[in-house]
Symmetry: C2
Subunit: 588 residues, 2 copies
Amino acid sequence: MLRTHNCGALRKEDIGKEVLLAGWVNRRRDHGGVIFIDLRDRWGLTQLVIDSNQQEIYQHANSVKSEFVLQVKGIVRARPEGLANLKLPTGEIEVAVSEVIILSESKPLPFEIEEKNETDESLRLRYRYLDLRRTRMQKNLMLRHQVCQSVRRYLSERQFIEVETPFLTKSTPEGARDFLVPSRLNEGNFYALPQSPQLFKQILMIAGYDRYFQIAKCFRDEDLRADRQPEFSQVDIEMSFVEREDIFELIETMMKNLFYEVLGIQLEAPFPRMSYDEAMNCYGCDKPDLRITCTIDDLSSLLEGNIEVGSKTDSWNGLFLQDWKGFSRKKADLLSQMAKNAGVSLSYIKFANEAGTSPLKNKIAEQTWRKIIEKYPFQEDSLLLIAWGDRPKVLAFLGNLRVNLGEELNLIQNQFKFCWIHDFPLFEWNLEENRWDSMHHPFTAPLLDQLDQLNIDPSKVKAQAYDIVLNGFEIGGGSIRIHRSDLQEKIFQLLNLSEGEIQQKFGYFIEALQYGCPPHGGIALGLDRIMMLMSGESSIRETMAFPKTQKGTCLMSGAPSPVSDDQLMVLGIQLKKKKEPRSTKDGS
Amino acid sequence: MLRTHNCGALRKEDIGKEVLLAGWVNRRRDHGGVIFIDLRDRWGLTQLVIDSNQQEIYQHANSVKSEFVLQVKGIVRARPEGLANLKLPTGEIEVAVSEVIILSESKPLPFEIEEKNETDESLRLRYRYLDLRRTRMQKNLMLRHQVCQSVRRYLSERQFIEVETPFLTKSTPEGARDFLVPSRLNEGNFYALPQSPQLFKQILMIAGYDRYFQIAKCFRDEDLRADRQPEFSQVDIEMSFVEREDIFELIETMMKNLFYEVLGIQLEAPFPRMSYDEAMNCYGCDKPDLRITCTIDDLSSLLEGNIEVGSKTDSWNGLFLQDWKGFSRKKADLLSQMAKNAGVSLSYIKFANEAGTSPLKNKIAEQTWRKIIEKYPFQEDSLLLIAWGDRPKVLAFLGNLRVNLGEELNLIQNQFKFCWIHDFPLFEWNLEENRWDSMHHPFTAPLLDQLDQLNIDPSKVKAQAYDIVLNGFEIGGGSIRIHRSDLQEKIFQLLNLSEGEIQQKFGYFIEALQYGCPPHGGIALGLDRIMMLMSGESSIRETMAFPKTQKGTCLMSGAPSPVSDDQLMVLGIQLKKKKEPRSTKDGS
């Protein structure tokens, strides 16, 4: 070992000891013929002192710059009276250095390691090894490690076993494009990197493993909007002989355990549960941020026919804000304009001086007006926003507004609010391709009492699918799966797959279902997003060591990069020739 | 939950309880109007009893076949006197069934789940979900889970943090071919799947993480000889400010801990250490199986000049076998022939009736003969094999023979014998390409006192590299790394990389070394091979859920498979046209 202690270890109790330390020069300052160096490692900082009396060492230490790596020998001593730094765990001591070895030098840095202002992200990613030295990134990655350890420990205690599933797989359609890997030993054929281990975990249930988990890497070749990464991690879970509530309980207890172990936060469970329809009606979206307490109200029965606002409309909805002092005429106009852009009409009732005023007042029947005023706990500066029009548009608009006002009016409490959304529609209509798509994935079981509807109106069928939502982010989703081969085939047919496609893509899986498949279900949690929320970051890139840009490149190593013709040759592929005229079939 | 207990849970104490069980029909037998079903899950077997009195249930149960999945309700009762099965944890009870639900049926099986004779492996892989139901595979995968948990717990306690490194990376040369992944967003460019996270873990040391580990998936596109897989797992470890012995201690303690926790076996540490040269001299290979105690002796000083056997030779070596009763003239001829095939001469001294006999006897000087007889603890049926010729050939031959005889003569003790091999040569000569290759990898540090030799005779330079060997298998290897950019560049130059290649492939890494790199080192352990040895299997395929064949195919899912032209189109690649005449440059 090149050290006897790390840089966060020494205390008053160590005074008098001769120690060996090693680490990075965090800061060097000269002060009246004395050099002070803060030596840094993962565990902390220790102050080194070199007196100009020790001429040779002093000279040597004088050449030292930021981020040099040193090994020093010295004696631990108390800092002079009044100079202890009580904010630092090692702040009561310093090390009087008797020997300095420069293990490694550093060029001048492209940016300061700990900078007040945010460094440009592309520079941070280019020099990721410097960026990762920052306290914030170190904290984030250590938190991630703790989270993974906690999750693994918990699931093991619940008798889950972690099974590694392959990376070189056959494509399974999860609604995104596969990354392909050309096979050299099987020229002309391709592996796909897994979009998720979905079929493997179901196969493991058929194989009787009963409780499977994996912290699994998944791959999706998407156009990287916003905060996506081509590779991401999920806590992947599957159980046999269970119902929805068993999964909910498992995950709630896991989250309670995790947040307590890692952040010291006591969560309340069970988490609220609401159906997809309820979420859409009350929050205008399927991932409600429950830190904001106000909800969207249905005012249709109250207002329909009791208000004169021109054209007929199919929905009236309200959003009540208890206290909005800053609300002004100007703001009202702005909101109206936003509503108009969203294809929705908007007005309001404002309460002040013990009475309500509204642009709508003269258009509302007196009795209805009274009913509204009674319905809400109006007080000085309360405001009721009323929107009407096409129902999905009204709900979406108020849902967005709710979140934006939540931020603007500081209604968001600093806490972790989970909820479950369940009973999603089984299908959604794919306008482009004029057919049904699975809303979750094609292995999701319909609600059993709605099986007949599959033949009548698939849009009406709900799925045994659920999402877990935290602070307005979908952090996971799952379902009870189909465990009967006939139902699985029927679903594939409804998705417009031909018999040939079903056989070619899923034949082996349908066959597996015919050898004794237990009822089973599971969930996949988005680890990166959970880490983002737990560490208070606003991008998942801050939660992983080596993220890629929106273009899918690694700015540090330069991946992806060109390869030699020979490498392609042995794989039996070649680059598409750009200049050649394309056949019409190729399209763009 | 579809069950109140699993199939391994019920005991005498549960007698009288009404229970719900679910599982697979392991066996059904009819016995005088009574149906007995052994219901199976991961945890065990429970005997179900259905009397013909309960006509409806009896009828239903009568249709049940092997591997059907059932849910049953019933009352736990004691088995009749004298019929308890004490080998089974649930053997004192049975469940008198009052309700049977068939959750899922099974077609007739392609092979028996628990078969006495080994089923053909390709059939097992084709129906892997059935194969994975076998007790042996369940044990192997659970053991693997326990091993991973134990390793993670241990390393976390030692303040290592697990960091996930990317899968879509830039190629790093580890002596094998990369799997390539075409990039759609960066057309014409390719990611490589990592052969190991080598550079990322070194970057993490530069970033100050100090102690990193990962159970990492690695990929090598090799021709799959023997027991290789295109994707495999390694326990990947890196530490800063350490020397070789720190790594040894870490791994020894980890192994002790692991074998005790998981197998209840107490290992002795420290493990024996020997240099590469010593291993080659004493065992004829760099992965000696220390369960076999005999070693190769150097008899050159004894025999050279004191024996007449024709042509001059550069090495005389012996292998002494204490007790080989079955050694015969026929066997001697066979061994001689094997030796001849290996380019080596072989003879022997056999001890019987208190004297030695040998075809060589008349050719050896009397004094030398006496010295040999004195050197060894000869007794009845002892045998000394003597081989001579070209030194590397002699050592390799005797090394192989040692292992083969170890098996043949039952000299292999049933235990786990570890050792460390260190001070490997830094380079080996690549005959084909007429240049030096790194024996470990190009990031391995030379022994510091041999740096000058780099300029004089690279073949003489030893590396700070080490392997860990268990029972004759190399289960891991590592090194102290180069942490100076100038030395790193020099090594690349010695490997015949041009300045341009160095920059293009490793420029970013060499730059990273210039921003304060700590001395560091690490190791990577082959998890699959360790699992194979711990579970007593002879193939790593038995230690993973979904292995591939030698041709790199998954017999269950059919991966790899053809993909559509559209999929290739968006990636900017196409299949090489087979019929087109090739340019001469293309070769075969």
